[in-house]
Symmetry: C2
């Protein structure tokens, strides 16, 4: 068919490479087919399946015996049954090493993060004991190190502090924290059960990078209290109030604290740098925090430094997690806050947990099931909330250490939990003299890795709009608040998506000389227009959000008024183009390439019908043929046009083609016939 | 090139129609080009222009003299300057006839609708006097009959009644109504100024049909109070409370009222039916309401029927609109409610006004500018709120009468306003004995046309999902509340759009025998797969909302685990397909047709890169080539892939093609070379 188009375009004298007679094929026109009929129920079923079960979780059950099905079912719910039976001593050796390593990190971090959430330090240790055990049974990731994390701790602390002061009413604050954790877990598990896991996809990469960097800076700024030894520190989180608090209290700065804090911070950053350069030396950065805690505690104890301006943690209780279900509040004046806190911390910690799980699973080439992971993390938090734990998830930094330390299965979490248990039972008095500044240094070192400058640069290079979204998240978190910065970035991302929908791309196609290929004339400078034809490609679903933009019914073509809408504007442009006026080639056919229109709704169908009507009317006025030609509609669009189009005007074979090339070659010849008979 | 593909596929022995040697073209491969470089600033400018100025309003100013520009500018702001100078006696004759006709409709409807909004009846007449005059100066529609409308009246009345009782505190209620009108106008005008007119596009056809039908039923049910003569009627709007109120007060029913109401209702419905059948007899239904008012008033006056259970309007004030700017509240406890009411009634009345304007402009082949109309309607309401008018817009029923009565310009609105003015000045005492039942009958007749069964059936036929949206709007309005029903329907529509985005369509393409065309194998049963190739077409922008769905990085191909995501599932399907196993044609190339991917973001770019990496890894494991081939990316996608792809692995000429046909024919030959050298 190429030869045909070629020959007919020959009069335009564009640079042709070939010219040869393949005419006999060119006239073969292929029919546009509709997909096989399905009932609405079948379609609905298919759509629901595609939405909620894209992973087809029951696939493995097909064709199995009943007993096998039960076994597979149990294994599906409790992945430990899958790998447990094959567990052996070699695996245990690796897991013990990695378990002890992450425990040495989890203990100081647990204490630090609990303080970040304005909770008693011991709650951080409780949260490193029960949740890892629950996750070991339910979780499908082999590398996830479970426990409290910095951003969720920060979020929970700052949100609850809006209504309750942790200093004045510590018991109520603790109760609200446990209740929020309960709701966060419930919400996470429900997302998994209802297979709504795709909700976390709405946190795009750009949003997350901006958010994490902002949160890291907010968290680091909070540590200035401990690192500078300030006693009267602001209760707010924003950059401005924190910096003003720091510089208005310069007389509270303690040089002993600053000196000691600086030393430990440098030590921790150097060890972190070493481990980043040589992943084999993971134990350098993994052991450093515990070593810092031990050294600083001994130092304080030896020199009675607590009397010289160094603030210490103070007395901690001893013993395992007390039950806390009687502390959960399900009514009262703070319910709204608790639900909101649960929702937001739940989503954020879920995002971190799933992302971390996926990252390491990809490295080791196994899989984690998003919805199942959500259930595991959710159940873990619900159980946690009844055993004095606050929100936990898979922590990025500790999981990386876990992975590097050679963790083979979730047993490393069990080893860690046992280590924490021993600490809780016997070693708590040792932390009495641990200085707060070393905890601050540990947090700063942990969160500094969340500021990902190379990733930000990559986003800037690829997509400026995404970069703006990232900046919004970043500055929103720093200057407004953690949760509002996040909401802002998500809102902008979704708004962009909706805007893309309301302003779909419409491009004019031209023929690439020597072929029957039609491409965007803006992108392919070679592509030439076909006289008498306006070939448009719409690249979005046509629906209520954009049909008005594409077509406005009330434009007056004849007058020289402002033509206002996309398609009609293209038509006017065509008519005003000098070349066309010179060549007297008035517009005969508007060809609409529907290949990229993936869906259509009733508004979209009306749009196509109206466009056809308008063109016909215009054709009558200009006493020429002006017809709407549709090319290559996908199955769904074809079906809906058929149903809506009682008279089948739109889908007659002479205005419906499989390719633009066939449409042009077929119509070009018919046009010649008409115009010659006119003359 | 067709011949080539044909020949190579020959081994499959599918029904071929042709087989002939056009091989020399087939090997000509066309380059994928990138669009000409533009700076980010240019792109941003373009994008903003496309979003906010798709209609290019400054187009007409180009190349004009300064004086001409000023004149055009004034004419743009005040369309009356455009048509005013050409006004003549013939036009005036038509406008007087149509103006008097709509006045005879506007007076009884104005009184009725004001009662629907729980406002004094005279406010309805005030609102039919000032706003039409303002619109005549600013508006660009020639047919719009401006005044109070049923749905906006209902909405304003029911929303304000949530906080203030019109019976107990009528002055405050009136003040809130004026203030809401002010904010509605401000909001409408801002939408126009900020060129955000596309916001009203989010009310899809399905939503509007369901909403209007539900509102019509709610409005009609409210008229049962007047038509049955019930004195203790519920204050609620829902179907359930209204029906229970009607049947719990049967002893209040007045047979005189019912009989008389029934007679007038039948009369009005019959006249409406006549005018609908014969549009020439428009005056039958147009004059009927005023005639009913006159006849029923005379009847009541003559027989002293007000003493026999027939309730009447009662004494009305006389005189023109008093100023009301001192009644606008800009602070106080009801501000939230007033803002919300203004926003919702503003959007709804704007939608009606614009839709009506567009409909009649299309019939007469002139244009109305959406954003300009919004400014006109907004200014009209702001002015109205300072002159004792409540919310007004272009009414559908009256505009239809206006059009049929031969209105030529907005002068018919001026004639109507003058008639209303005369009524306000001299005729108000005559309405003292007008029975409420006739107002009820007028409202029912007016709103019954809003229930559009044929349109609902059409939606059912074309798109089941839109039908569900329509039902949600309908039942939401009837059973929950007017504004919540509307919000529900809009929410569902947007949710569907977002869902379409998160679950983009991915289809497998096959070769249509005898051509180089590749199409959806599900839609085109003829299309045959090419052995060794998996050809996929993605039909949506690839972005953060769907890149996780399309590709999950951590699937294990080698094990028999559940493969979980869309593209990797297709690959697995390919490998498990019996035919492929039998033919030992293991997968060599995954061809991704990107023609329908209209945009991509950083997440999308990462998706493509990851997919390539995964395929390469898999290829190494299976010791075969597994390469990702991209076909026909649009300009923006091409650009972003280039920027992100430092090493240009993705865009090397051997994995980037202009058409699927060229990709397959080129790779097929290279594959043969490799496999023969393997053997």
């Amino acid at each position: 068919m190429e030869g045909k188009v070629e020959q007919e375009l020959g009069s335009q004298n564009h640079h042709h490479h070939h010219n040869h007679p393949c005419v006999e094929i060119s006239m073969e026109i292929h029919k546009v087919e509709t997909p096989p009929k399905r009932s609405s129920l079948q379609k609905l079923k298919n759509r629901l399946k595609e939405t909620f079960f894209p992973d087809d979780p029951l696939r493995q059950f097909k064709g199995q015996s009943a007993k096998q099905k039960w076994l597979l079912g149990f294994q599906y719910i409790f992945p430990i049954l899958q790998w447990g039976p094959h567990y052996n001593l070699n695996l245990l050796k690796s897991d013990v090493v990695s378990g002890l390593t992450i425990a040495s990190l989890a203990i100081p971090q647990g204490i630090s993060y609990a303080k970040l959430a304005n909770l008693p330090p011991i709650v951080g240790l409780y949260s490193s004991f029960v949740p890892p055990l629950v996750y070991a049974v339910l979780g499908s990731s082999k590398d996830l190190a479970v426990g409290p994390v910095s951003i969720a701790s920060l979020l929970m602390g700052s949100m609850l502090r809006q209504e309750v002061s942790p200093a004045q009413d510590p018991l109520l604050f603790l109760q609200l924290a446990f209740t929020s954790t309960f709701f966060a877990g419930l919400f996470q598990a429900s997302l998994g059960f209802l297979r709504l896991g795709f909700i976390i996809d709405f946190l795009s990469k750009a949003t997350l990078i901006g958010f994490m960097a902002g949160a890291a800076i907010i968290v680091s700024l909070q540590q200035l209290k401990a690192l500078l030894g300030i006693t009267h520190f602001t209760k707010e989180m924003g950059l401005v109030p924190v910096m003003s608090s720091v510089f208005h209290n310069t007389k509270e700065w303690s040089w002993q604290t600053i000196l000691m804090g600086f030393c430990f911070l440098v030590f921790l950053l150097v060890t972190r740098h070493i481990s980043m350069k040589k992943p084999k030396l993971f134990w350098v950065s993994a052991g450093a925090p515990l070593l810092s805690v031990v050294v600083s505690t001994l130092f304080v104890f030896a020199f009675k430094a607590q009397h010289h301006g160094i603030s210490v943690i103070g007395k901690l209780e001893q013993g395992l997690n007390p039950p806390s279900w009687n502390m959960l509040h399900f009514h009262g004046s703070h319910m709204g806050l608790v639900l909101k806190t649960g929702l937001i911390t739940g989503i954020i910690s879920l995002t971190e947990g799933i992302a971390v799980g996926r990252t390491f699973a990809a490295l080791k080439n196994y899989q984690v099931d998003g919805n199942k992971e959500m259930i595991a993390i959710g159940v873990m938090n619900v159980v946690g909330s009844t055993t004095s734990c606050y929100i936990t998830t898979g922590a990025f930094s500790r999981s990386a250490v876990n992975h590097n330390a050679g963790a083979k299965t979730a047993v490393s979490n069990i080893i860690m939990a046992v280590t924490v248990m021993v600490t809780l039972l016997f070693l708590m008095p040792l932390f009495q003299y641990t200085p707060n500044l070393v905890l601050g240094a540990i947090i700063v070192t942990a969160v500094i890795g969340l500021v990902d400058i190379p990733a930000a640069y990559q986003i800037w290079k690829v997509d400026k709009f995404d970069f703006v979204v990232m900046l919004c998240a970043f500055f929103g978190v720093i200057f407004i608040s953690v949760q509002e910065g996040l909401a802002l970035a998500v809102g902008i991302s979704i708004f962009k998506m909706v805007l893309q929908m309301t302003r779909p791309k419409t491009v004019v196609l031209g023929n690439i000389p020597g072929t029957d290929i039609f491409r965007n004339r803006h992108q392919y400078k070679d592509a030439v227009p076909v006289p008498g034809f306006l070939i448009l490609s719409i690249q979005a679903p046509i629906n209520f959000a954009n049909s008005n933009y594409l077509n406005d019914r009330n434009d007056d073509f004849v007058s020289n008024d402002i033509s206002r809408t996309k398609i009609l504007r293209w038509i006017q442009d065509y008519e005003e183009e000098e070349e066309n006026i010179k060549m007297h080639s008035s517009l005969r056919f508007v060809v609409l390439d529907l290949a990229a229109v993936s869906a259509i709704d009733t508004n979209g169908v009306t749009f196509v019908q109206e466009l056809r009507r308008v063109l016909e009317k215009k054709g009558v006025e200009a006493s020429s043929i002006q017809d709407l030609v549709l090319v290559n509609p996908v199955g769904e669009v074809m079906e809906k046009l058929q149903k809506a189009d009682g008279t089948h005007d739109l889908l007659q074979p002479n205005v419906l083609f499989l390719t633009v090339g066939e449409a042009v070659s077929s119509l070009f010849s018919s046009m010649k016939g008409v115009s010659s008979s006119h003359v």
